[in-house]
Protein backbone atom coordinates (compact mmCIF):
# COMPACT_ATOMS: atom_id res chain seq x y z
CA UNK A 1 0.00 0.00 0.00
CA UNK A 2 1.50 3.28 -1.11
CA UNK A 3 -1.06 5.69 0.28
CA UNK A 4 -3.98 5.48 2.63
CA UNK A 5 -6.28 8.33 3.58
CA UNK A 6 -9.25 8.02 5.88
CA UNK A 7 -11.76 10.72 6.69
CA UNK A 8 -9.36 13.49 5.70
CA UNK A 9 -10.59 17.06 5.70
CA UNK A 10 -8.86 20.37 5.29
CA UNK A 11 -10.23 23.85 5.77
CA UNK A 12 -8.71 27.17 4.76
CA UNK A 13 -9.02 30.14 7.05
CA UNK A 14 -9.97 30.06 10.67
CA UNK A 15 -13.18 31.19 12.28
CA UNK A 16 -14.09 34.05 10.03
CA UNK A 17 -15.73 35.03 6.80
CA UNK A 18 -12.81 33.65 4.78
CA UNK A 19 -13.33 30.13 6.06
CA UNK A 20 -13.82 27.60 3.29
CA UNK A 21 -13.66 23.82 3.27
CA UNK A 22 -11.22 22.66 0.61
CA UNK A 23 -11.69 18.91 0.98
CA UNK A 24 -14.16 16.94 3.08
CA UNK A 25 -14.06 13.38 4.32
CA UNK A 26 -11.69 11.87 1.77
CA UNK A 27 -10.96 8.16 2.16
CA UNK A 28 -8.97 6.11 -0.31
CA UNK A 29 -6.14 3.64 -0.71
CA UNK A 30 -3.61 3.53 -3.51
CA UNK A 31 -1.49 0.43 -4.10
CA UNK A 32 2.14 0.57 -5.08
CA UNK A 33 2.62 0.95 -8.84
CA UNK A 34 -0.80 2.39 -9.59
CA UNK A 35 -1.28 5.40 -11.84
CA UNK A 36 -4.21 7.38 -10.56
CA UNK A 37 -5.73 10.38 -12.31
CA UNK A 38 -7.49 13.13 -10.38
CA UNK A 39 -10.04 15.29 -12.17
CA UNK A 40 -12.56 17.88 -11.07
CA UNK A 41 -13.73 21.38 -11.72
CA UNK A 42 -11.58 24.36 -10.70
CA UNK A 43 -11.84 24.72 -6.94
CA UNK A 44 -12.90 21.12 -6.40
CA UNK A 45 -9.96 20.49 -4.05
CA UNK A 46 -7.55 18.65 -6.36
CA UNK A 47 -4.51 20.73 -5.52
CA UNK A 48 -5.35 20.68 -1.82
CA UNK A 49 -5.55 16.90 -1.94
CA UNK A 50 -2.18 16.71 -3.70
CA UNK A 51 -0.52 18.94 -1.12
CA UNK A 52 -2.05 17.00 1.76
CA UNK A 53 -0.63 13.77 0.35
CA UNK A 54 2.85 15.29 0.11
CA UNK A 55 2.74 16.69 3.61
CA UNK A 56 2.90 20.27 2.36
CA UNK A 57 -0.41 21.11 4.00
CA UNK A 58 -1.55 19.81 7.38
CA UNK A 59 -4.90 18.00 7.48
CA UNK A 60 -7.54 19.20 9.94
CA UNK A 61 -8.99 15.76 10.55
CA UNK A 62 -8.56 12.16 9.48
CA UNK A 63 -5.43 10.14 8.86
CA UNK A 64 -2.91 10.08 6.03
CA UNK A 65 -0.38 7.26 5.70
CA UNK A 66 2.42 7.05 3.15
CA UNK A 67 3.48 3.41 3.37
CA UNK A 68 4.43 3.11 7.06
CA UNK A 69 4.74 6.83 7.71
CA UNK A 70 1.85 8.67 9.33
CA UNK A 71 1.61 12.29 8.22
CA UNK A 72 -1.12 13.16 10.67
CA UNK A 73 0.65 11.99 13.81
CA UNK A 74 1.16 14.43 16.69
CA UNK A 75 4.86 14.56 15.95
CA UNK A 76 5.32 15.67 12.32
CA UNK A 77 7.52 13.36 10.23
CA UNK A 78 11.10 14.30 9.40
CA UNK A 79 11.56 16.06 6.07
CA UNK A 80 13.99 13.43 4.78
CA UNK A 81 11.56 10.62 5.65
CA UNK A 82 8.74 12.43 3.90
CA UNK A 83 10.63 13.38 0.75
CA UNK A 84 11.74 9.80 0.17
CA UNK A 85 8.10 8.73 0.16
CA UNK A 86 6.38 11.52 -1.75
CA UNK A 87 7.54 14.11 -4.26
CA UNK A 88 5.38 16.82 -5.72
CA UNK A 89 5.81 18.43 -9.12
CA UNK A 90 3.77 21.62 -9.10
CA UNK A 91 1.95 23.16 -12.01
CA UNK A 92 4.44 25.02 -14.23
CA UNK A 93 7.41 23.56 -12.30
CA UNK A 94 9.75 25.59 -14.51
CA UNK A 95 8.69 28.63 -12.46
CA UNK A 96 10.67 27.31 -9.52
CA UNK A 97 14.07 27.10 -11.25
CA UNK A 98 16.73 29.23 -9.58
CA UNK A 99 20.20 27.72 -9.95
CA UNK A 100 22.92 28.90 -12.32
CA UNK A 101 23.27 25.58 -14.09
CA UNK A 102 20.98 22.70 -14.90
CA UNK A 103 23.21 20.37 -12.89
CA UNK A 104 23.02 22.72 -9.89
CA UNK A 105 19.26 22.82 -10.18
CA UNK A 106 18.92 19.06 -10.24
CA UNK A 107 21.39 18.67 -7.39
CA UNK A 108 19.49 21.03 -5.06
CA UNK A 109 17.31 18.32 -3.52
CA UNK A 110 20.14 15.83 -2.83
CA UNK A 111 22.27 18.65 -1.38
CA UNK A 112 19.48 19.51 1.02
CA UNK A 113 19.26 15.91 2.10
CA UNK A 114 23.01 15.80 2.67
CA UNK A 115 24.07 13.29 0.02
CA UNK A 116 27.81 12.96 -0.65
CA UNK A 117 29.20 15.10 -3.52
CA UNK A 118 30.35 12.19 -5.67
CA UNK A 119 27.04 10.44 -5.13
CA UNK A 120 25.21 13.61 -6.16
CA UNK A 121 27.26 13.89 -9.34
CA UNK A 122 26.59 10.28 -10.24
CA UNK A 123 22.88 10.58 -9.56
CA UNK A 124 22.55 13.83 -11.52
CA UNK A 125 24.07 12.15 -14.55
CA UNK A 126 21.91 9.08 -14.06
CA UNK A 127 18.60 10.96 -13.88
CA UNK A 128 19.63 13.19 -16.80
CA UNK A 129 20.27 10.11 -18.91
CA UNK A 130 16.95 8.56 -17.86
CA UNK A 131 14.97 11.66 -18.80
CA UNK A 132 16.93 12.34 -21.97
CA UNK A 133 18.66 15.51 -20.80
CA UNK A 134 21.80 15.80 -22.90
CA UNK A 135 25.15 15.76 -21.09
CA UNK A 136 26.19 19.18 -22.44
CA UNK A 137 22.90 20.71 -21.28
CA UNK A 138 23.90 20.08 -17.66
CA UNK A 139 26.24 23.07 -17.75
CA UNK A 140 23.68 25.38 -19.35
CA UNK A 141 21.72 28.10 -17.58
CA UNK A 142 18.21 26.76 -16.97
CA UNK A 143 16.66 30.14 -17.82
CA UNK A 144 17.95 29.86 -21.37
CA UNK A 145 16.32 26.53 -22.16
CA UNK A 146 13.09 26.09 -24.09
CA UNK A 147 9.82 25.60 -22.23
CA UNK A 148 9.76 21.82 -22.69
CA UNK A 149 13.40 21.45 -21.63
CA UNK A 150 12.85 23.62 -18.55
CA UNK A 151 9.97 21.42 -17.52
CA UNK A 152 12.14 18.33 -17.96
CA UNK A 153 14.82 19.85 -15.73
CA UNK A 154 12.25 20.78 -13.09
CA UNK A 155 10.91 17.23 -13.22
CA UNK A 156 14.41 15.78 -12.96
CA UNK A 157 15.03 17.91 -9.86
CA UNK A 158 12.22 16.05 -8.11
CA UNK A 159 12.72 12.62 -9.66
CA UNK A 160 16.38 12.47 -8.61
CA UNK A 161 15.10 11.94 -5.06
CA UNK A 162 13.28 8.80 -6.31
CA UNK A 163 10.06 9.41 -4.39
CA UNK A 164 7.97 6.26 -3.95
CA UNK A 165 4.86 8.32 -4.69
CA UNK A 166 5.05 10.98 -7.36
CA UNK A 167 2.34 13.63 -7.39
CA UNK A 168 1.98 15.64 -10.59
CA UNK A 169 -0.13 18.79 -10.80
CA UNK A 170 -1.05 19.48 -14.43
CA UNK A 171 2.16 18.02 -15.87
CA UNK A 172 1.05 18.43 -19.49
CA UNK A 173 -0.26 21.98 -19.45
CA UNK A 174 1.42 24.37 -21.89
CA UNK A 175 3.22 21.65 -23.87
CA UNK A 176 2.57 21.00 -27.55
CA UNK A 177 1.21 17.64 -28.72
CA UNK A 178 4.61 16.11 -29.47
CA UNK A 179 6.16 17.24 -26.19
CA UNK A 180 3.09 16.01 -24.33
CA UNK A 181 3.39 12.52 -25.74
CA UNK A 182 7.14 12.47 -25.11
CA UNK A 183 6.63 13.67 -21.55
CA UNK A 184 4.03 11.00 -20.89
CA UNK A 185 6.17 8.19 -22.31
CA UNK A 186 9.08 9.40 -20.22
CA UNK A 187 6.99 9.38 -17.03
CA UNK A 188 5.64 5.91 -17.78
CA UNK A 189 9.13 4.55 -18.41
CA UNK A 190 10.47 6.14 -15.24
CA UNK A 191 7.62 4.72 -13.18
CA UNK A 192 8.21 1.27 -14.61
CA UNK A 193 11.93 1.32 -13.82
CA UNK A 194 11.52 2.70 -10.31
CA UNK A 195 8.39 0.80 -9.34
CA UNK A 196 6.79 3.99 -8.10
CA UNK A 197 3.22 5.17 -7.79
CA UNK A 198 1.82 8.21 -9.60
CA UNK A 199 -1.02 10.57 -8.72
CA UNK A 200 -1.74 12.92 -11.59
CA UNK A 201 -4.01 15.96 -11.61
CA UNK A 202 -4.95 17.12 -15.08
CA UNK A 203 -7.56 18.96 -17.09
CA UNK A 204 -6.23 17.33 -20.23
CA UNK A 205 -8.75 14.52 -20.21
CA UNK A 206 -7.48 12.84 -23.40
CA UNK A 207 -3.94 12.64 -22.08
CA UNK A 208 -5.18 11.45 -18.72
CA UNK A 209 -7.33 8.72 -20.29
CA UNK A 210 -4.24 7.36 -22.00
CA UNK A 211 -1.99 7.85 -18.96
CA UNK A 212 -3.78 6.53 -15.89
CA UNK A 213 -5.51 3.30 -14.96
CA UNK A 214 -7.78 4.62 -12.24
CA UNK A 215 -9.71 7.86 -11.94
CA UNK A 216 -10.75 9.93 -8.94
CA UNK A 217 -13.39 12.60 -9.45
CA UNK A 218 -13.54 15.43 -6.96
CA UNK A 219 -16.51 17.71 -6.71
CA UNK A 220 -16.71 20.62 -4.25
CA UNK A 221 -14.18 19.00 -1.97
CA UNK A 222 -15.79 15.57 -1.96
CA UNK A 223 -14.58 12.37 -3.58
CA UNK A 224 -17.50 11.49 -5.84
CA UNK A 225 -16.04 8.69 -7.95
CA UNK A 226 -13.16 6.22 -7.63
CA UNK A 227 -13.08 3.65 -10.45
CA UNK A 228 -10.92 2.07 -13.13
CA UNK A 229 -10.65 4.71 -15.82
CA UNK A 230 -12.61 2.81 -18.48
CA UNK A 231 -15.68 2.41 -16.27
CA UNK A 232 -15.28 5.87 -14.79
CA UNK A 233 -15.88 7.51 -18.15
CA UNK A 234 -19.14 5.61 -18.46
CA UNK A 235 -20.60 7.53 -15.51
CA UNK A 236 -21.71 10.23 -17.91
CA UNK A 237 -24.34 11.82 -15.67
CA UNK A 238 -22.08 12.12 -12.65
CA UNK A 239 -19.19 13.46 -14.69
CA UNK A 240 -21.41 16.12 -16.24
CA UNK A 241 -22.64 17.12 -12.80
CA UNK A 242 -19.03 17.48 -11.66
CA UNK A 243 -18.07 19.49 -14.73
CA UNK A 244 -15.73 16.84 -16.14
CA UNK A 245 -15.80 16.25 -19.89
CA UNK A 246 -15.27 12.93 -21.63
CA UNK A 247 -12.22 12.04 -23.72
CA UNK A 248 -12.60 12.87 -27.40
CA UNK A 249 -12.50 9.17 -28.39
CA UNK A 250 -15.32 8.34 -25.97
CA UNK A 251 -17.40 11.30 -27.17
CA UNK A 252 -16.97 10.18 -30.78
CA UNK A 253 -18.17 6.61 -30.22
CA UNK A 254 -21.04 7.80 -28.03
CA UNK A 255 -22.17 10.22 -30.76
CA UNK A 256 -22.10 7.38 -33.30
CA UNK A 257 -23.99 5.09 -30.96
CA UNK A 258 -26.60 7.83 -30.40
CA UNK A 259 -27.11 7.95 -34.17
CA UNK A 260 -27.91 4.26 -34.18
CA UNK A 261 -24.50 2.81 -35.03
CA UNK A 262 -23.86 -0.54 -33.34
CA UNK A 263 -20.47 0.61 -32.07
CA UNK A 264 -18.77 -0.42 -28.80
CA UNK A 265 -18.75 2.61 -26.48
CA UNK A 266 -15.88 1.89 -24.12
CA UNK A 267 -13.05 3.46 -26.14
CA UNK A 268 -10.52 5.62 -24.24
CA UNK A 269 -8.02 6.53 -26.93
CA UNK A 270 -8.36 7.51 -30.56
CA UNK A 271 -6.76 4.22 -31.62
CA UNK A 272 -9.38 2.27 -29.69
CA UNK A 273 -12.17 4.42 -31.12
CA UNK A 274 -10.88 3.85 -34.64
CA UNK A 275 -10.78 0.09 -34.07
CA UNK A 276 -14.32 0.11 -32.65
CA UNK A 277 -15.63 2.16 -35.58
CA UNK A 278 -13.89 -0.10 -38.07
CA UNK A 279 -15.38 -3.18 -36.44
CA UNK A 280 -18.84 -1.59 -36.46
CA UNK A 281 -18.49 -0.59 -40.11
CA UNK A 282 -17.55 -4.16 -41.07
CA UNK A 283 -20.47 -5.51 -39.05
CA UNK A 284 -22.73 -2.98 -40.79
CA UNK A 285 -21.59 -4.21 -44.20
CA UNK A 286 -22.31 -7.78 -43.20
CA UNK A 287 -25.84 -6.76 -42.17
CA UNK A 288 -26.28 -5.02 -45.52
CA UNK A 289 -25.40 -8.13 -47.51
Amino acid sequence: MALRMSGVCCTYGENDAWRAAAVRDISLTVERGEIVGIVGHTGSGKSTLAQLVCGLLPADCGEIWLEDLCLTAKKPPKASELIRRAGMVFQYPEHQLFAETVAGEIAYGPENLGWKPDEIQREVRRIAAELGIAEDMLAANPYQLSGGEKRKVALASVLILRPALLVLDEPFVGLDAVARQEFMDMLLKWREENDSTILCISHDIDQLAAFCRRLLVLCRGELRLDMPVRQAFSQVELLRECGVELPLARRAVLELAARGWPVATDALTLAEAAAAIKAAAKGGDADGC
Partner: protein
Protein backbone atom coordinates in the same frame (compact mmCIF):
# COMPACT_ATOMS: atom_id res chain seq x y z
CA UNK B 1 9.46 21.09 9.79
CA UNK B 2 7.54 20.33 6.69
CA UNK B 3 4.24 19.86 8.41
CA UNK B 4 4.57 23.02 10.41
CA UNK B 5 3.53 24.86 7.27
CA UNK B 6 0.86 27.25 8.41
CA UNK B 7 -2.25 27.55 6.40
CA UNK B 8 -2.21 31.22 5.78
CA UNK B 9 -5.20 32.89 4.28
CA UNK B 10 -4.06 35.52 1.89
CA UNK B 11 -5.55 38.78 2.91
CA UNK B 12 -4.07 42.13 2.29
CA UNK B 13 -4.99 45.63 3.23
CA UNK B 14 -6.59 46.75 6.42
CA UNK B 15 -9.90 47.84 4.91
CA UNK B 16 -12.75 47.01 7.27
CA UNK B 17 -16.02 47.06 5.36
CA UNK B 18 -18.87 48.82 7.17
CA UNK B 19 -21.54 51.43 6.52
CA UNK B 20 -20.54 54.51 8.44
CA UNK B 21 -20.34 58.26 8.03
CA UNK B 22 -16.56 57.98 8.17
CA UNK B 23 -16.45 55.37 5.41
CA UNK B 24 -18.44 57.61 3.13
CA UNK B 25 -16.28 60.70 3.59
CA UNK B 26 -14.21 61.87 0.65
CA UNK B 27 -10.88 60.01 0.91
CA UNK B 28 -9.03 63.29 0.32
CA UNK B 29 -10.71 64.80 3.38
CA UNK B 30 -9.73 61.73 5.37
CA UNK B 31 -6.10 61.88 4.26
CA UNK B 32 -5.75 65.58 5.10
CA UNK B 33 -7.59 65.18 8.40
CA UNK B 34 -5.37 62.24 9.33
CA UNK B 35 -2.18 64.13 8.50
CA UNK B 36 -3.39 67.05 10.60
CA UNK B 37 -4.40 64.82 13.49
CA UNK B 38 -1.10 62.91 13.49
CA UNK B 39 0.81 66.22 13.42
CA UNK B 40 -1.32 67.50 16.28
CA UNK B 41 -0.48 64.45 18.39
CA UNK B 42 3.21 65.30 18.04
CA UNK B 43 2.61 68.55 19.91
CA UNK B 44 0.86 67.08 22.93
CA UNK B 45 2.94 67.19 26.10
CA UNK B 46 0.52 66.58 28.93
CA UNK B 47 -1.69 63.77 30.21
CA UNK B 48 -4.82 65.92 30.16
CA UNK B 49 -4.41 66.71 26.49
CA UNK B 50 -3.70 63.07 25.74
CA UNK B 51 -7.00 62.27 27.41
CA UNK B 52 -8.59 64.70 24.94
CA UNK B 53 -6.78 63.05 22.01
CA UNK B 54 -7.93 59.57 23.06
CA UNK B 55 -11.50 60.78 23.64
CA UNK B 56 -11.55 62.38 20.19
CA UNK B 57 -10.02 59.31 18.53
CA UNK B 58 -12.33 56.85 20.27
CA UNK B 59 -15.34 58.95 19.34
CA UNK B 60 -14.22 58.88 15.70
CA UNK B 61 -13.69 55.10 15.85
CA UNK B 62 -17.20 54.76 17.27
CA UNK B 63 -18.59 56.88 14.43
CA UNK B 64 -16.68 54.73 11.92
CA UNK B 65 -18.16 51.57 13.50
CA UNK B 66 -14.70 50.12 13.97
CA UNK B 67 -14.30 48.06 17.15
CA UNK B 68 -11.69 49.82 19.30
CA UNK B 69 -10.08 46.43 19.89
CA UNK B 70 -9.38 46.12 16.17
CA UNK B 71 -7.76 49.54 15.99
CA UNK B 72 -5.62 48.92 19.05
CA UNK B 73 -4.83 45.41 17.78
CA UNK B 74 -2.52 47.08 15.27
CA UNK B 75 -0.38 48.15 18.23
CA UNK B 76 0.45 44.52 18.99
CA UNK B 77 2.81 44.33 16.05
CA UNK B 78 4.86 47.15 17.53
CA UNK B 79 5.16 45.87 21.08
CA UNK B 80 8.93 45.33 20.82
CA UNK B 81 9.47 48.80 19.42
CA UNK B 82 7.25 50.33 22.09
CA UNK B 83 9.03 48.57 24.95
CA UNK B 84 12.40 49.56 23.53
CA UNK B 85 11.35 53.21 23.17
CA UNK B 86 9.92 53.26 26.67
CA UNK B 87 13.11 51.79 28.19
CA UNK B 88 15.39 54.18 26.31
CA UNK B 89 13.32 57.14 27.41
CA UNK B 90 13.04 55.95 30.97
CA UNK B 91 16.74 55.29 31.51
CA UNK B 92 18.42 57.90 29.40
CA UNK B 93 16.51 60.99 30.45
CA UNK B 94 18.50 63.09 32.89
CA UNK B 95 16.61 64.43 35.86
CA UNK B 96 16.72 65.44 39.48
CA UNK B 97 14.42 62.82 41.00
CA UNK B 98 16.56 59.65 40.92
CA UNK B 99 14.41 56.66 41.77
CA UNK B 100 16.89 53.83 41.13
CA UNK B 101 20.47 53.60 40.02
CA UNK B 102 22.70 50.76 38.88
CA UNK B 103 26.00 51.60 37.20
CA UNK B 104 25.35 53.78 34.20
CA UNK B 105 21.62 53.13 34.37
CA UNK B 106 19.62 55.79 36.13
CA UNK B 107 15.88 55.75 36.44
CA UNK B 108 14.46 59.19 37.11
CA UNK B 109 10.95 60.46 37.62
CA UNK B 110 11.42 62.69 34.60
CA UNK B 111 12.41 59.64 32.59
CA UNK B 112 9.28 57.76 33.59
CA UNK B 113 7.21 60.80 32.72
CA UNK B 114 8.83 61.12 29.31
CA UNK B 115 8.48 57.46 28.50
CA UNK B 116 4.80 57.44 29.50
CA UNK B 117 4.11 60.40 27.20
CA UNK B 118 6.06 58.74 24.38
CA UNK B 119 4.05 55.53 24.76
CA UNK B 120 0.77 57.43 24.77
CA UNK B 121 1.87 59.29 21.64
CA UNK B 122 2.97 56.21 19.67
CA UNK B 123 -0.06 54.14 20.61
CA UNK B 124 -2.40 56.98 19.64
CA UNK B 125 -0.68 57.46 16.29
CA UNK B 126 -0.75 53.77 15.40
CA UNK B 127 -4.27 53.10 16.63
CA UNK B 128 -5.93 56.17 15.14
CA UNK B 129 -4.23 55.93 11.76
CA UNK B 130 -6.57 52.96 11.40
CA UNK B 131 -9.31 55.57 11.04
CA UNK B 132 -7.96 56.16 7.56
CA UNK B 133 -6.86 52.67 6.49
CA UNK B 134 -9.80 50.77 7.99
CA UNK B 135 -12.39 53.04 6.40
CA UNK B 136 -10.86 53.59 2.96
CA UNK B 137 -10.26 51.03 0.23
CA UNK B 138 -6.76 50.98 -1.25
CA UNK B 139 -8.22 52.05 -4.59
CA UNK B 140 -9.91 55.10 -3.05
CA UNK B 141 -6.67 55.96 -1.27
CA UNK B 142 -4.73 55.86 -4.48
CA UNK B 143 -7.37 57.95 -6.31
CA UNK B 144 -7.23 60.49 -3.52
CA UNK B 145 -3.44 60.67 -3.58
CA UNK B 146 -3.55 61.23 -7.30
CA UNK B 147 -6.08 64.01 -6.89
CA UNK B 148 -4.12 65.63 -4.06
CA UNK B 149 -0.90 65.40 -6.02
CA UNK B 150 -2.33 66.97 -9.15
CA UNK B 151 -1.44 70.57 -8.26
CA UNK B 152 2.15 69.39 -8.01
CA UNK B 153 2.06 68.08 -11.57
CA UNK B 154 2.86 71.63 -12.66
CA UNK B 155 6.26 71.19 -11.06
CA UNK B 156 6.80 67.87 -12.79
CA UNK B 157 5.49 65.60 -10.07
CA UNK B 158 4.07 62.48 -11.80
CA UNK B 159 0.87 62.29 -9.72
CA UNK B 160 -1.01 59.97 -12.02
CA UNK B 161 1.90 57.65 -12.64
CA UNK B 162 2.52 57.52 -8.92
CA UNK B 163 -1.07 56.55 -8.19
CA UNK B 164 -1.08 54.00 -11.01
CA UNK B 165 2.07 52.43 -9.63
CA UNK B 166 0.48 52.20 -6.22
CA UNK B 167 -2.70 50.65 -7.59
CA UNK B 168 -0.79 48.06 -9.60
CA UNK B 169 1.51 47.24 -6.70
CA UNK B 170 -1.47 46.69 -4.41
CA UNK B 171 -3.24 44.65 -7.06
CA UNK B 172 -0.32 42.26 -7.43
CA UNK B 173 0.50 41.71 -3.78
CA UNK B 174 -1.97 38.82 -3.41
CA UNK B 175 -0.68 37.31 -6.67
CA UNK B 176 2.89 37.46 -5.42
CA UNK B 177 1.94 36.02 -2.04
CA UNK B 178 0.24 33.11 -3.73
CA UNK B 179 3.19 32.54 -6.00
CA UNK B 180 5.65 32.73 -3.11
CA UNK B 181 3.57 30.15 -1.29
CA UNK B 182 3.70 27.83 -4.28
CA UNK B 183 7.44 28.20 -4.81
CA UNK B 184 8.13 27.68 -1.13
CA UNK B 185 6.17 24.46 -1.19
CA UNK B 186 7.87 23.31 -4.39
CA UNK B 187 11.30 23.87 -2.84
CA UNK B 188 10.24 22.20 0.40
CA UNK B 189 9.25 19.22 -1.68
CA UNK B 190 12.94 19.09 -2.66
CA UNK B 191 14.08 19.38 0.93
CA UNK B 192 14.75 23.10 0.75
CA UNK B 193 13.49 24.73 3.91
CA UNK B 194 15.20 27.85 5.18
CA UNK B 195 13.78 27.39 8.65
CA UNK B 196 16.17 24.57 9.47
CA UNK B 197 19.74 23.54 8.85
CA UNK B 198 22.99 25.43 8.78
CA UNK B 199 23.29 29.10 7.88
CA UNK B 200 24.55 28.39 4.36
CA UNK B 201 21.69 25.99 3.76
CA UNK B 202 19.21 28.54 4.99
CA UNK B 203 20.71 31.21 2.75
CA UNK B 204 20.48 28.86 -0.20
CA UNK B 205 16.89 28.10 0.76
CA UNK B 206 16.03 31.80 0.64
CA UNK B 207 17.77 32.22 -2.70
CA UNK B 208 15.81 29.28 -4.10
CA UNK B 209 12.59 31.18 -3.34
CA UNK B 210 13.60 34.76 -4.07
CA UNK B 211 15.28 34.19 -7.44
CA UNK B 212 12.32 32.54 -9.18
CA UNK B 213 9.88 34.90 -7.46
CA UNK B 214 11.75 37.95 -8.70
CA UNK B 215 12.22 36.50 -12.16
CA UNK B 216 8.51 35.75 -12.50
CA UNK B 217 7.54 39.17 -11.11
CA UNK B 218 9.74 40.98 -13.65
CA UNK B 219 8.36 38.83 -16.44
CA UNK B 220 4.82 39.58 -15.29
CA UNK B 221 5.57 43.32 -15.11
CA UNK B 222 6.87 43.19 -18.65
CA UNK B 223 3.74 41.40 -19.87
CA UNK B 224 1.53 43.88 -18.05
CA UNK B 225 3.31 46.86 -19.58
CA UNK B 226 2.83 45.44 -23.06
CA UNK B 227 -0.82 44.61 -22.37
CA UNK B 228 -1.48 48.14 -21.09
CA UNK B 229 0.20 49.74 -24.08
CA UNK B 230 -1.70 47.46 -26.42
CA UNK B 231 -4.89 48.88 -24.94
CA UNK B 232 -3.78 52.44 -25.54
CA UNK B 233 -2.40 53.42 -22.16
CA UNK B 234 -0.15 56.46 -22.51
CA UNK B 235 0.02 57.73 -18.96
CA UNK B 236 -1.96 60.43 -17.17
CA UNK B 237 -2.32 62.93 -20.00
CA UNK B 238 -5.96 63.58 -20.86
CA UNK B 239 -7.09 60.69 -18.73
CA UNK B 240 -10.29 60.82 -16.69
CA UNK B 241 -11.30 58.56 -13.85
CA UNK B 242 -14.14 56.07 -13.72
CA UNK B 243 -14.62 56.82 -10.06
CA UNK B 244 -15.24 60.51 -9.49
CA UNK B 245 -14.31 61.83 -6.10
CA UNK B 246 -16.99 64.15 -4.76
CA UNK B 247 -16.27 66.73 -2.10
CA UNK B 248 -19.39 67.42 -0.01
CA UNK B 249 -20.13 70.05 2.67
CA UNK B 250 -19.74 67.35 5.32
CA UNK B 251 -16.12 66.86 4.22
CA UNK B 252 -15.42 70.52 4.75
CA UNK B 253 -17.16 70.40 8.12
CA UNK B 254 -15.13 67.40 9.27
CA UNK B 255 -11.94 69.05 8.14
CA UNK B 256 -12.82 72.21 10.05
CA UNK B 257 -13.55 70.27 13.24
CA UNK B 258 -10.25 68.43 12.98
CA UNK B 259 -8.45 71.68 12.18
CA UNK B 260 -9.84 73.40 15.30
CA UNK B 261 -8.98 70.40 17.47
CA UNK B 262 -5.46 70.20 16.10
CA UNK B 263 -5.01 73.95 16.56
CA UNK B 264 -5.90 73.44 20.21
CA UNK B 265 -3.39 70.58 20.47
CA UNK B 266 -0.66 72.74 18.97
CA UNK B 267 -1.59 75.68 21.18
CA UNK B 268 -1.58 73.42 24.24
CA UNK B 269 2.19 73.76 24.42
CA UNK B 270 1.86 77.41 25.23
CA UNK B 271 -1.36 77.21 27.23
CA UNK B 272 -1.08 76.97 31.01
CA UNK B 273 -0.93 73.28 31.97
CA UNK B 274 -4.27 71.75 32.87
CA UNK B 275 -2.60 69.22 35.12
Amino acid sequence: MLMAAKKRQIRFGAYYPAESPVHSLDPRAKIIAMLLFLTGILFVESYAWFAAVYAFGLLALRLARIPAGKAFGAVRGLVVLLIFTALINAFFTRGEMVLWQYGALTLTLEGLHRSALMLLRLVAMVAFSGLLTFTTTPIALSDALESLGRPLARFGFPAHEFAMMMTIALRFIPVLLEEADKIMKAQRSRGGDWREGSLTRRMKGIIAVVVPLLFNALKRADDLAIAMEARGYIGGKGRISLRELRWRPVDTAVLLVVLVFVALLVASRWLPPLW
